[in-house]
């Protein structure tokens, strides 16, 4: 059996749902999930469909061509098609913090995170031991002011070689360049250790402590050129009190960061996120 997921959007108009469901029905498909959303102020329609095809004659490429021919041009649909079982290839960028990396590898190992991890890249050698424990190739690419462009070329070469689909910055303590972002538009997922848009940039826990907040947060978002301003995928928070020091904020934050990042990664890998404007539609 072939299981297909389709993400699509277009200008809102009558008959799209009927058109799509009808088409799948005619192709002997069984819709197992359908969810849609209309952004009324912008008159834009979004839909996520999962469907099964039991026929042995089903051909994924033919289906896509036929779908685009019959529906795509008629509704000016933008579509992405995914075949269940084709896991996305995820590059993992880290620096020195290990908590997010541990969670990514543990959940990858248990099969909970449906992605392939061809390698880990770091600007520090510290976490190589963890990569070894989990038997994932580890590239140590030093990054400093002078060699930044060159380092990024190295990173890009490795990613191309491994045909990487998307990148996770698992507390990677470097700002990625516009060039990298351009190559992987809305394909770089970052975890920022604050409740954005509060406290963007460096040392958010210090700023939160200084401000005397009663709640701290973490935000996972797609990276765009403006720092910590890209489309938000997931956020969560935890309570703090006057009793908590900056060190406590950092410790409490670690749990938040890894949980929020993993939720975002799962949503992305399960094809549940669509980006539009500077926002996301996150299907259930």
């Amino acid at each position: 059996m072939n299981q297909i997921t389709i993400l699509m959007y277009c200008a809102d108009q009558k008959g799209i749902i009927a058109g799509v469901t009808n088409f799948i029905h005619q192709k002997q498909g069984n819709i197992t999930y359908i969810d849609q959303y209309v952004d009324r102020p912008n008159a834009t329609f979004f839909m996520r469909v999962e469907c099964d095809f039991v026929s042995p004659n089903f051909n994924f490429d033919d289906f896509k061509i036929s779908f685009n021919l019959e529906l795509g041009s008629h509704f000016s649909l933008h579509c992405d098609f995914y075949l269940k079982g084709q896991k996305p290839k995820m590059a993992v960028f880290v620096s020195k913090y290990d908590h997010c990396l541990y969670d990514i590898l543990a959940k990858h190992h248990s099969g909970e995170l449906e992605a392939e991890i061809p390698f880990i890249i770091s600007n520090h050698p510290d976490l190589e031991i963890i990569a070894k424990r989990f038997e994932i190739p580890f590239y140590h690419i030093v990054v400093h002011k002078e060699n930044k462009a060159q380092a990024e070329l190295e990173q890009l070469a490795i990613m191309k070689k491994h045909k990487v689909d998307f990148i996770v910055l698992a507390r990677y303590m470097q700002i990625v360049s516009a060039k990298l972002i351009e190559h992987y538009t809305h394909k770089i997922i970052n975890i920022h250790h604050s409740f954005l848009p509060a406290f963007p940039g460096a040392k958010p826990y210090h700023s939160a402590f200084e401000r005397g907040v009663k709640i701290i947060g973490a935000t996972s978002h797609y990276v765009t050129e403006e720092l910590d301003a890209g489309p938000i995928i997931e956020q969560d928070i935890t309570r703090v009190t006057h009793l908590n020091s900056i060190a406590d904020f950092i410790e409490k934050g670690r749990d938040l960061e890894r949980i929020v990042l993993l939720r975002a990664l799962k949503l992305h890998c399960n094809r549940k996120v669509m980006v539009y404007g500077n926002k996301t539609v996150v299907f259930s």
Copy 2:
């Protein structure tokens, strides 16, 4: 413009979504919301659809007849149709606690709760003053062991007279009889002051305190014959510590109760809840 909401369920089968969306499309309707759910172990399909009909010739009754004729029998669909603007009539039952009643009346007054409140019934006179402040008729019907059956007949008569659609037990401290439940199957909404199924029955805060829990909860559910065992609509919780006395539990619980109950009432009034088996499907 006519805005229709349809809730439907049937045995899961191919082509239902296409059938329904096609039908609405043919009737010049524009689907503004569609959400569906398949209970795979029980092979049951659930769907909620909202659609707009701008034609001045649209007739709600004709639409229902036509829908049932063309789709209902073909798919063995069970359907409920609602016309936007036809607010359900909600009977409010209270005893002596006022916190849920205040919230119901304040949100009703502000238009946030799309229901009509023809009257309040209580087995105590205490809250009549609040009913008066909000200008809602108040019936004081004393209930005790000896007159219970008679009191319920009175209640039923009032509800029939006012053509009540559903009942909210807003901390009504009486067990309603099987007879009343039969008349309003899955139409009586209760708020229980515990995280069900923990601590059903009387004095849940006392039991929670005794057990030394670190979290207390509230549960809103449809009333069935078995006490506090009906389909759950909404739950929420709040933290407690060893510092909190039973009085603190009760005070913290009051905020929980009114918020959970109001969420459940809004979901019900907005036609977002379907009951099946002893569970609910709650659409977003």
Copy 3:
């Protein structure tokens, strides 16, 4: 029996706890609650003590004098003493939104909020009907650009006449002047409808919607001259999704605002909040 609450702070030093507890012990007092906090970076000590005095000869004023004489000067303590039963007088400022006002009045009526409410002030007449329902005097003082200084003099006069202890801005849609703030330093409690420091100023729900956040918040804080930048007392959040419109944000926010504001008011009335720098110590 006299029940006393003491809030104190001073430079951190050895022997304060022993000194204070010893003193109370010698005065035949029984300590029923003690909680302290040391801000190490700033070497500042904070303590909250509750104690009971059963002796009929106990005199509150004598106790304060004696405490200050024996301990105050020795430790350079800053102290506030409160006698249980002497409720603070709270002025309520509102504009047109009623949800916070309803909660304040309902909880005041039920005895949950230990404050006196001598009056409500509003720059609009809309909520007078609610004030009447709860039998609280209502002053309608129009505020516009030209008469702002004059209107504030009127407000101040009313507050002086009623010997107001503190002010709650229950969605009062005006910026209070530096003069008023000076008169009631750390005595004006505001509810801001965002998770500060994100989205200060006007229309935070619109900004939050625009930014595509997945969580919205509310913050109760003491008012200082810089807008929405004063010491935070309490914050809380709720989840939103792409499905939620700005209207949904506002509706969900209403529940947050009233709950967060009421928690802050209870903490303040129960003498559990100390302000230092631009932060609060909130005792449990």
Copy 4:
């Protein structure tokens, strides 16, 4: 510098706080933390004190003897004294699930969990590879109906040899015997995958799914003879909807379990938990 933590309880009476703080003051100690709680219905007093002693002549054993002599007998105090830096030895029991184990080892490795882990015991060989990765000795002790008593003797022997202070059941899928519980009364910490007292015993996620709850939970508690009925240390919850299958419950629950268990372990290792009756006092 010596940092001491004292946990104590006794019948509530006048002058305890003054007595204790005075004593520490006289011994040249500086109190850095003091928190107390009075269970009024049972007239029991609980206190947790942290204090620093900078004198090079300070002797921990002398201090304890002196404390007990001067205060212990006078107030009939029950005391436990801990010297900072003396980490408790924690035995880890697992079966086949790895998520809690990963978190324990990662946080132990990062220094966040102040305990020594002398070994891991399992009734299955599956997780030996993880033990090896983290270089912790692993004992595989098969347990089945016939050899249960014998297996427990082996476990006890290993624990005695390593002078274990307490045990964590990190999803250990066996019921430990009364004998083991007797040896480690209130020293065995379990994680149960439900919001106790709801769904004790086997397969709580299945029962929660069956009941149609909207929230699932996890509970960490000290093990007592009655199954899943011991003193609760920590609980937390997460939301579920009708969309979630039992498999989803289990997946969402995994994150809950490890977080709740780790919080409980940190509280226990940081000497913040006191057991009384069948409850806990958890200091902040």
